[in-house]
């Protein structure tokens, strides 16, 4: 800056690159900004995934001691799907149900933090994130305590006959769905909050002025304008929830197992690497398909 300062007027300062060079630098800049992060992802995500992709086409009869041959065994995919479609379906069913519940809970929460909390905004925001600092395993175990057959909650529900004398909460689909909802709720709330916070309150006033009741205002203005955050939040919720297996494992029974449990077992217990890899790719493909359809329908493709 100083070089410019002392340059006499009317003379192009030496520090100022010629326009062409500046434009070139400008075109290079995004790539420079991207380089470290993209390289990281390519090396530690894309490369391993390629390797995994290859593994999904290995000879399914290979084993740890004999090794695996790449035989382009596309049959691994239908085989895996045939054996585990119930868990597949359940993953989407549970994640979808949890998402619906999370929307019912998360939208009001995000709305209140963004628009009603005033100076408590940051505090409430951290309240949403802070539970994650208490290890999720600790919290899940706490849920086990809360939902436990001998716990207060079950006792109460039994007393008011919402549960039969033998009824329980733990080890039911409900427990798994509640666990998923609980676990991933912050991922939904945070982006939703971000877009609700940006919402211009004057638009809401304008809607009210134009005869829209609060419900209508929500439906016609708030909701559509929060769509980017809503879409992002739904994805951040749904994607990991579909692949999760800890909640099913800790709060469910084998009848609640999701595809994550199957993949876990394929890699670690059954030692069927090709099938594990094939299931992983099937899951990713299914998730991506849902994601793309969702983005297309929400009209928020530029989230990509």
């Amino acid at each position: 800056m100083n070089a410019v300062a002392h340059a006499p007027a009317g003379q192009r300062p030496a520090t100022e690159p010629p326009p062409a060079a500046r434009r070139r630098r400008h075109q290079l800049l995004p790539y420079l900004l991207l380089l470290p992060g993209a390289a990281w992802l390519l090396l530690f995500f894309a490369a391993p995934m390629l390797q995994l992709g290859a593994a999904s086409l290995y000879d399914p009869t290979g084993s740890l001691s004999t090794g695996y041959a790449l035989t382009w065994a596309f049959g691994n995919y239908p085989t895996a799907l045939q054996a585990y479609w119930p868990q597949f379906g359940r993953s989407f069913l549970f994640a979808g149900t949890a998402l619906a519940l999370a929307l019912l809970m998360g939208y009001p929460l995000a709305y209140v933090i963004a628009r009603k909390a005033g100076r408590w905004k940051n505090l409430l925001l951290v309240c949403v994130i802070a539970p994650m600092f208490t290890s999720f395993l600790v919290r899940t175990l706490a849920w086990k305590t809360i939902l436990s057959d001998n716990g207060v909650l079950v006792g109460l529900l039994r007393d008011i006959h919402l549960l039969g004398p033998d009824g329980r909460l733990l080890a039911t689909p409900l427990a798994v769905v509640l666990g998923l909802t609980y676990h991933f709720l912050p991922f939904l709330v945070l982006p939703l909050y971000a877009s609700l916070e940006r919402l211009d309150h004057r638009l809401l006033e304008a809607a009210g002025d134009l005869y829209a009741s609060p419900l209508r205002t929500f439906q016609k203005v708030t909701l559509p304008l929060s769509r980017p955050g809503l879409t992002a939040g739904m994805l951040l919720f749904f994607i990991p929830a579909t692949g999760d297996y800890i909640n099913a494992e800790l709060l469910g029974t084998p009848n609640e197992y999701m595809i994550g449990n199957v993949i876990d077992s394929a890699f670690l217990v059954r030692l069927d690497h090709p099938q594990g890899a094939a299931l992983s790719f099937l899951l990713m493909a299914a998730i991506l398909a849902v994601v793309f359809v969702h983005l297309r329908r929400a009209g928020t493709e530029d989230l990509l």
């Binding site: 995500f45 929460l109 209140v112 290890s135 609980y182 692949g243 990713m284």
Partner: protein
Amino acid sequence: MRFSRWFADRWVVGVALLVLGYLFLPIAVVTALSFNRPSSRLSYDFNEFTLDNWRNPCATSDMCDAVLRSVQIGFVATVAATALGTLMAFALARHRFRGRSGINLLVLLPMATPELVLGTSLLALFVAGGVPLGFWTVVVAHVMFCLSFVVVTVKARLAGMDRRLEEAAMDLYASEWQTFRRITLPLVLPGIVAAALLAFSLSFDDFIVTNFNSGTTVTFPMYVWGAAQRGIPPQVNVIGTAMFAMALLLVLASMVPGRRSPTTVNCPTRGRDP
């Protein structure tokens, strides 16, 4: 009439409080148990009030090591992921260039990949490359999966920013760097802070990916996982409670009047919402 209007104004707040309650319920249990002297090693039931666990949080030899290690990993991974992710977010939000959608996909995919798959495939890479597992492989893994969340969060914030403010700054003698430092950064900071918080919590809380890539390094979640099977020492609840309380205290401290936190842009909302 007046009551129904009052109710209409408040019900959503009521619902939000209920949801917060739902989020806090397990924390309450954890907090209660942190003051519990369990009747047996395998029991979670509240037995007897005690302060012993708090007086002696590190009674269980390796737990505090694990917590410390998790904090270290979380810190390094957060700093790295936030730095790399913020740069990427700027590139994606502010520039049009070839291969932009490819990069966007590269950012989205890790979020669409189950953690288990991330963990095993990365492990395979480390094993094939002869990389010894430990602290740094965990950091590498954490940076990888936190990166996407940072990019998405910061990008959203950038997208909502008024470019004219940056132009105004440049017009007022702020160089590119000064503009970034004085205007862009403070305005994007809430987004970056949110991203960093998210990254830290993701890293601190991760079990699945860490479990594959940690070698003998034991993080707090891994410790808890192991402990869960042989009876959790009550001190685990102390750590859980303390971490939570610390996060809250930090924010409360920044709210003390007179010390306005630079990340808090307190614009009083004119008018009220319908």
